[in-house]
């Protein structure tokens, strides 16, 4: 059985590129090195939810059609529209995104990627403040303090900790895995002793409690990599942390500003910030300023909670302040495998990372005004093209309803909710499994995606489908100009 090595995993923004796949009869049968999410994607690419034929809605029912007919209908809808939106792009290759932007310009539409519902606010703040960052490789080898803020990599980016941060065996920094295992073992031991003691000596449980309490050795004082987690609840990642700050929901901004003041040696006139005692924060700040190379990763808990984009503004300012005293970098934990690539390609071609409006013939950018969710909430668009995304199930209800009310075209591999309410459905190949391409890892490193098996018969990659739609739109426009001239 052929084994393909060094395959990149097209699931999350970590883009692990050490996956080994075993192929049998044109299907992936075994996945090595990947996490559960990776395995699920590679093994289920031929599931029954797969769309195999283009569909067009006629009298409310889907009917199978030819690819040419589906593309012609798509081009007609887009060419006639007065304010179409083109959305998705984070689960496809950079090559396809590039064609998508050309198409948006041609039809005078609003093009947006999934950053609008995840790290859009981060991008806005980065534009305001700048971002001191680096590659994940640097962090793996050098960082001795890792902070995860508002994210739970253990469940959303399962191999992130093991490959790039606390549990990675770096060249200059050792893995904290052994320390963590020892901690778990001692906790289990402690639990056992406690229950045995309870059964044997029922009289003075409080005294036993006091004896069992571990003498407090601040874990920050010990050698090796350290892990700090800030979140609203005790996640799996928080369990592993040396320091866990449980912040009151929606109060991250206050906490960040307090940390900034402490880093700048300023006194606070309050005892608690965001539900955390200031003394504890002082300890954490000590750990931050005394590290040699710190890295802060933040997730949607920070970008979408309370102060939204201004949380990131404050986090970037905190890193700026920390860099006066030591070395610190910051990085958003990007979700979809190529959302970073979408932002990159958008920026190359239009100057802006997301929410670009071509209706006046040139790119305009003002999230809040030109972002797809807001356009849909105000009910302004009159047609939509969705590529490799499922906005109907993830957008606010009002926005999803407006999307479904107008002509909707879906290009993607799965029969998901958006596909079910669409008017034209064009099946496409899985990028990274059935089609090659390029994707950007969360640290802006481009990683090639491999084609390991053939797509189902007649199914094309997104890039090719979009190219055909684009040339059809151009043809319709030419015909129209000719007709008008005549």
């Amino acid at each position: 059985m052929p084994v393909v090595k060094a395959v990149s995993c097209p699931v999350c923004g970590s883009l692990c590129d050490d996956i080994e796949l075993t192929i049998e009869n044109g299907e992936v049968v075994k996945v090595k090195n990947g996490c559960a999410m990776c395995e699920a994607k590679f093994l289920s690419h031929r599931s029954e939810h797969r769309i195999r034929k283009p569909l067009i809605r006629k009298d409310g029912e889907f009917v199978e059609t030819t690819l040419e007919e589906a593309i012609r209908r798509t081009a007609e809808i887009l060419a006639e529209a007065n304010y179409p939106v083109l959305y998705g792009w984070s689960n496809t290759s950079c090559e396809a995104i590039s064609v998508g932007i050309e198409l948006a310009e041609e039809v005078g539409g609003v093009i947006d990627n999934t950053a609008v519902v995840c790290h859009g606010p981060s991008l806005l703040s980065v534009q305001d403040m700048g971002i001191p960052s680096c590659t994940l490789g640097q962090i793996r080898h050098r960082a001795d303090l890792i902070i995860y803020w508002g994210c739970d990599p253990w469940s959303a980016h399962p191999r992130h900790i093991e490959r790039y941060t606390a549990f990675a065996e770096g060249r200059f920094e050792k893995s904290a895995w052994r320390g963590y295992m020892a901690k778990i073992r001692s906790l289990i031991g402690l639990k056992k002793i406690r229950s045995a003691a309870k059964r044997l000596v029922l009289k003075e449980p409080s005294e036993i409690e006091a004896r069992l309490k571990p003498t407090f050795v601040p874990s920050i004082a010990r050698e090796g990599r350290k892990l700090i987690v800030v979140d609203v609840r005790r996640t799996k990642t928080a369990e592993m942390a040396d320091f866990f700050i449980q912040v009151e929901p929606g109060k991250d901004y206050e906490l960040l500003q307090a940390l900034r003041a402490l880093v700048r040696d300023q006194e606070l006139e309050v005892d608690h910030v965001a539900g955390v005692p200031v003394e504890y924060l002082e300890e954490v700040v000590d750990a931050m300023v005394s590290c040699d190379f710190g890295a802060l990763f933040f997730g949607l808990g920070l970008t979408m909670g309370g102060a939204k984009l201004r949380n990131i503004d404050a986090a970037l300012s905190l890193i700026r302040d920390l860099n006066m005293r030591t070395k610190f970098v910051i990085m958003p934990m990007r979700g979809h495998f190529n959302v970073t690539g979408a932002n990159m390609v958008f920026t190359w071609q239009t100057g802006y990372p997301y929410a670009v409006d071509f209706s006046l013939g040139y790119p305009r950018y003002n999230p809040g005004e030109t972002s797809v969710v807001d356009v849909l909430l105000r009910g302004e668009s009159d047609a939509a093209l969705v590529v490799a995304s499922d906005p109907v199930s993830s957008f606010p209800r009002k926005a999803a309803e407006h999307l479904a009310r107008n002509p909707l075209i879906y290009v993607g591999p799965h029969m998901d909710v958006t596909a079910q309410v669409a008017d034209v459905v064009i099946p496409s190949a899985f990028v990274g499994i059935e089609a090659p391409g390029t994707a950007y890892r969360m640290d802006h490193v481009p990683i090639p995606l491999k084609k390991v098996v053939d797509p189902p018969e007649g199914v094309l990659p997104d890039e090719e489908i979009l190219r055909r739609i684009l040339s059809e739109v151009r043809k319709i426009k030419r015909e129209k100009t000719k007709a008008e001239a005549a």
Binding site: Q257, E380, D382
Partner: protein, 275 residues
């Protein structure tokens, strides 16, 4: 001259009409005005395809024309952008970027306005009798050049980040305000008569914010300075009530002044031990 505009239909698509500006209308006949270009979605149209236009001669003819819009123009953006004189009256709701970068003149709206009203304004007056959206007087994305002069009066509530990056001028809000009032402001005055969501004056460097109602919280990076018996908002407008005075934002080495009324904010009384 007074020019009356009546929308011919309920707009569904965004309309961009920066030509609705006394400066542009000046010296033009009603036919010429009707031929001015506007955008509806991705199509270019003439003003008279979207509005019915009527001109009437005023008894006392002011220098620049007065434009009156009768009806809902909440989808129409950039009305009065960059205007230098004259007057616009909107009898209905107005869209985004109303009076963006305006230098002089007056805009009155007898309805609500959407985001970025008075964005990057330099002079003149905007008066809104309804509510205003987010980013009142704030610059557009990525810019740090806020309001540099002029006056905005809102009789209703406003959204988030009113007066962000403001340098000069005054904003008076007689309703409630969303979070981040006066974010990163460098000068000028903002008055909020009623309640204010959290993070007032975050990262402010200079300027004055006065809150007459309840504030959710004061940022930990502000320090209490004292108690004041009254606060002056502008010439001829003074609020007679005890106010806490905070300065900040410390994290930006700021010396902005934040006045918060004592009465409606008993949860801030713990600051009094520092006085």
């Amino acid at each position: 001259m007074i020019v009356n505009l009546y929308p011919l239909k309920e707009f569904k698509l965004p309309v961009i009409a920066e030509c609705i500006n006394p400066e542009v209308f000046k010296g033009k006949s009603i036919e010429e005005i009707g031929r001015l270009e506007v955008w509806e979605g991705n199509k270019q149209r003439r003003l008279n395809e979207l509005f019915k236009l009527e001109a009437e001669e005023a008894e006392s003819s002011p220098e620049a024309p007065v434009i009156t819009i009768h009806g809902d123009v909440s989808r129409v953006r950039r009305i009065g952008a960059g205007m230098k004189n004259g007057e616009i009256v909107v009898k209905g709701d107005a869209g985004m970027h109303l009076g963006e970068e305006m230098r002089d003149g007056k805009i009155t709206v007898y309805g609500n306005v959407l985001g970025w009203a008075g964005s990057m304004m330099r002079g003149g007056t905007i008066e809104v009798h309804g509510n205003a959206g987010d980013y009142l007087g704030a610059p557009y994305r990525g810019s740090t050049e806020g309001m540099k002069g002029g006056k905005i009066i809102v009789h209703g509530n406003v959204g988030r980040e009113a007066g962000a990056h403001m340098k000069k001028g005054i904003i008076k809000i007689y309703g409630c305000a969303g979070q981040f009032v006066g974010f990163r402001m460098k000068g000028g005055t903002i008055y909020v008569q009623k309640d204010c969501e959290a993070r007032v004056g975050a990262c402010m460097v200079d300027g004055t914010i006065i809150v007459g109602g309840c504030v959710e919280s004061v940022l930990p990076s502000f320090t209490i300075e004292g108690l004041r018996k009254r606060v002056k908002i502008e010439e001829g407008e003074v609020v007679e009530a005890p106010f806490y005075l905070f300065t900040g934002d410390l994290t930006e080495n700021g010396r902005g002044r934040l006045f918060v009324a004592k009465g409606p904010n008993p949860h801030l009384s713990h600051y009094e031990k520092f006085l």
